[in-house]
Symmetry: C2
Subunit: 202 residues, 2 copies
């Protein structure tokens, strides 16, 4: 019988790439910001050498990019799961808005990585595609309502922009601490109402 555990580590991890992304997300949640996230620490947590991450991500930014894509995927899934195509637009938007806001608040650190203004050179197209998928949920809702004559005519993309910007802005405010979670969630219904009916009297 060997003096030490023989199979402590099989030399090859098996799926180090996924393990790194998972560890990064967990650490991100704990530390609270992406700046204090170190490849060496991730490697330590997982139990591989400090240079091992380099085999899967050419540099730290590459890992952050991959993490952002994971985030977009998860966000799109969340929105698609929350969507209720049967509802009239106002209720449907309110539902989507709540889901987005909830996700943003629960994953604030991940959003920071996703919205970081620095993965421009490459990976930009993957990023764009991921964003479009997210916005798609809103766009479908708006387009459907428009076809039912529920809302004004015009380029659906422009109308979606109104909702998208408001929503994104609200989430930003909530994340950066201008609101409490409750205040932000509580504002959603009224916000959507104003978007639907405008600021001028009828």
């Amino acid at each position: 019988m060997p003096a030490e555990k023989p199979e402590t580590r099989p030399y090859h991890h098996g799926d180090l790439r996924s393990a790194l992304l998972a560890a990064a997300e967990r650490t991100l949640r704990d530390k609270g910001t992406s700046a204090s996230l170190s490849l060496r620490e991730l490697a330590r947590d997982i139990g591989v050498s400090h240079a091992a991450p380099g085999r899967h991500f050419k540099d730290k930014q590459a890992l952050l990019n991959a993490l952002a894509l994971v985030g977009y995927d998860r966000m799109a899934e969340t929105l698609e799961a929350a969507d209720e195509p049967g509802l009239p637009l106002q209720d449907r938007l309110t539902t989507l808005a709540r889901a987005y806001l909830r996700f943003a608040i629960d994953n604030a650190e991940l959003l920071e990585v996703m919205y970081a203004r620095k993965h421009e050179p490459d990976a930009a197209e993957q990023m764009t595609a991921a964003i479009d998928r997210t916005v798609g949920a809103l766009e479908r809702a708006v387009a459907a309502a428009q076809q039912r004559g529920e809302i004004v005519e015009g380029d659906p993309e422009h109308l979606t922009l109104v909702v998208g910007t408001a929503l994104h802005g609200l989430a930003s405010f909530a994340i950066t601490g201008k609101f409490t979670t409750e205040a932000a969630m509580g504002s959603v219904a009224e916000l959507v109402h104003h978007l639907m009916y405008g600021l001028t009297p009828r």
Copy 2:
């Protein structure tokens, strides 16, 4: 005649704190992101020792906080200068929106620092005050229009939120590259129109 310039450096810089902030902003503009901003490099640029910045900012985050406050100040000034209180709300908002968007695009890196979700412990109140001053420009416009009966009744703060979130969201999209500058600027008028009159037919 002395062999070397006698007054190359007066030992005490005079206003190192301001010099650091200025250098930081310049470097930020060049490098493009706040992550690659080093106290040691700033010190080198200015010509002081690597530990000198520590006399004015207890750590790197403290410098970023101060930089954020500078940014908020400048932004508020920009908005206040652009505001035209005489205009009807729609035009007034469009003007303010354009000014905000222009500032955001021209100072994208600074905005990244301002909206960073990490200076929570202290400095939070200064930050909040700075943000309120910025939002104040919008709030005044909305309140004035409301008093003139131009727009619906209700808590002005809530109505301002509608405009504020949409604006902030649009700026975020523009900054992170979802739009070109022109596309974003071109969307402003229509966006404000939809905010004023809503999505539902009249």
